[in-house]
Symmetry: C2
Subunit: 189 residues, 2 copies
DNA sequence: AAGGGCATGTAATTGGTTACATGATTTG
DNA sequence: CAAATCATGTAACCAATTACATGCCCTT
């Protein structure tokens, strides 16, 4: 059960409501842990019951009121303990790769299309992550920031996300190209 | 529910028992879909009930008997249909990245250790995948094989797995190095 | 007036993980 | 003779997904 720890780690950046946390997950944490809003609301409720986070009401005039959460002492302790646990091997799951695995036994047309869509989705994500990284490091150069900046954790995980997306895009384009070429060949028989 | 499709795609390579399928998953399919043996046994039972795979008993003398499965016509049709579905975005989950996200707020010692362990685990996987790729392409050069080989599906997904592991190893080592340097700095204060 | 963003959930279902169980045979 | 490999599951629990639900405010 590491969603709780992903939530705790995300809340280290400051106070968030469930809604804001969902946004933060989408851009940053989703690089290594995906969750939909419903999960986050449920998890925050559980964490509060267990005293690992504390919520407080924020009254807003122009928008609905919200509850924002911060990590408690007990929450920090739990993260500290979690950091010493052995990690499970990282796992990927990707529908599209299942389709590529079967690519030479099914109609490749739709698979090629999806590979190209994925590639451009990855391009979007690459640009977004670039912006996030620039925002995180401020004016400092990357090396400088990594040596002396505070809060390098999110920066390091974003770097991982970035390289993942870049590799993913390259692989998608290459694979689409290969399948397209093979398609042309077969048509010529 | 794409485990079923991952199973169908894996069974395109030939007949497998549950046990053999579990092995095949560990080396190949795990690059994009992880599953433990219990899941596979359960899924094969379901798929057989639905007529997407067909099992047959193989009597062995020196080893326990086993049931091996092949994809039926209906199974192929289901894969064909699946290939045209829109794909969900690929998702990663990784405990260790959760820890890195929190790295500047918890004791980094154990995190650094785990990053280095991961890096050497990735090294092992990289070597293994290299062997798998060589075996799949036989005597042909890679380019040649990708143009004209049959069964390029598994080859392409292994290439993705390989580049994932390489990036993962590099990132782990770089991150461990950065955290170590910061640790030394802080100690010197 | 419609659509999108803010804000928070409940309920039902499906999928995944963990622990347990069994028993033969082969290899070191 | 102990450990690993082959071979197949059941049961209990935990996590994730999907569908549904509500309501306000702001922009177009």
């Amino acid at each position: 059960m590491a969603l709780r720890h992903a939530v705790l780690a995300a809340l280290l950046d400051g106070e968030y409501s469930g809604y804001q946390l969902a946004k933060a997950f989408d851009i940053g944490v989703a690089n290594f842990w995906h969750a939909v809003p419903q999960q986050l609301y449920a998890e925050l409720t559980k964490l509060e019951k267990e005293g690992l986070v504390a919520g407080r009401q924020v009254i807003q005039e122009t928008r609905p009121n919200k509850r924002v959460f911060r990590v408690t002492e007990a929450g920090h302790a739990e993260l500290e303990r979690f950091a010493t646990d052995v990690s499970k091997p990282s796992s990927i799951r990707d529908d599209l790769l299942v389709k590529v695995q079967a690519a030479d036994r099914v109609d490749t047309g739709p698979v090629i299309e999806q590979l190209e869509e994925r590639a451009s989705a990855a391009d979007g994500k690459i640009e977004l992550l670039g912006q996030v990284l620039r925002r995180l490091r401020g004016d400092a150069a990357e090396e400088e920031f990594l040596r002396t900046g505070d809060r390098v954790g999110p920066y390091l995980t974003c770097l991982r996300g970035l390289s993942f997306e870049q590799e993913h895009r390259d692989w998608c384009l290459r694979t689409a190209g290969i399948l397209r070429e093979r398609q042309a060949h077969h048509a010529g028989r």
